[in-house]
Subunit: 202 residues, 2 copies
């Protein structure tokens, strides 16, 4: 019986650790035993802080969705030109993924039980709002004449989202989050330069 911590501290530790483990072994394969082991506890100790595993994911979900939407609000309130706000949205999201590389793992996770089903659905919903926000900024930019006319907004959104996806898949394969933001900014600027009205930008 060692190192007894306050419930609040321990809960926070558990939530942070489940995200670490989710990135390492995949969200669906994080066990209560692993979680406890990493915290130097026995497996049933987890159940002093959460009634069941699903509820741990529930809190993770709320926190991640909140952070996705926080980024969304930042992009929405500023009064910059639409393409600057678009860049803020994209780089903000890449920063979130860099800080929490478990996020894309959760997005593509499959789970046998229903522990992660709610998490996945909620995060998909928040990501849907993110894509809507991208679309909104692209639409504003297009109306302001900043993009090639004839460029469909839906297609532009797919291309911009593709920049993010390309980087995120590389993260999932290499397990290395460090290059995301750096390469992200360069690629985003490039993709946008290609979509802008003014001629040869390179």
């Amino acid at each position: 019986m060692r190192a007894r911590k306050s419930s609040q501290d321990r809960k926070a530790e558990i939530l942070a650790t489940i995200l670490d483990l989710a990135f390492e072994v995949g969200p669906a394969h994080v066990t209560t035993g692993m979680l406890a082991g990493r915290l130097g506890l026995t497996q049933p100790a987890i159940y002093k802080h959460f009634p069941n595993k699903k509820d741990i994911w529930h809190e993770i979900t709320n926190s991640l969705c909140a952070r996705i939407r926080e980024n969304l609000r930042q992009g929405a309130t500023a009064n910059d030109p639409p393409l600057a706000m678009l860049k803020q949205l994209v780089l903000g999201h890449l920063r979130l993924v860099t800080e929490t590389p478990a996020l894309p793992e959760i997005i593509v996770a499959r789970d046998p039980g229903s522990d992660l089903t709610e998490a996945r659905q909620q995060i998909h919903a928040a990501m849907g709002e993110f894509r809507e926000a991208l679309r909104g900024k692209l639409s504003d930019a297009s109306k302001a004449g900043h993009l090639h006319h004839g460029l469909e907004i839906g297609d532009a959104e797919m291309l911009v989202f593709g920049v993010i996806q390309s980087l995120v898949l590389r993260l999932m394969v290499t397990r290395n989050p460090t290059l995301l933001e750096q390469d992200g900014e360069r690629l985003f600027d490039l993709q946008l330069a290609l979509m802008k009205t003014e001629g040869n930008p390179l």
Copy 2:
């Protein structure tokens, strides 16, 4: 004791079914029981055809890698202009994913045991060759002056791969492979039009 089939037929059935299930529930969550159930057999029947689960994935891996590389060769042998060959590579890969939507699931799968580890590694290797091939075609096109000079080949590769990734993630979220090829061709053409030397292409 019903419907006894030849070993060859049954093996093929098992391989086809594990891919179906991998798309439905995720590769790591396909159980021998599920597999047998879908084929109208009992769970241990699977072990009359494969010594263990890992070996089923091993055969799946070989078959998928072969198909990835087959597409690669088609793109390599033709004598078309480099950007036409690039398009062939990309659309060929999207066709493969449409026919076998479990492929991206395997690429991002995490498994607790080591059943899928080899599969994932081998497929990552084949996908690395695919990206190398994209890079090669883009390099040829660039040298022939078909692309904006100043466009880094590595960046161009990320953007083209991003088109694929954007579509693949949508597939994983919507579970609907039907739109891949159709939208794929349009988005690829668009991305390439933006990267081409000749001015405003829209």
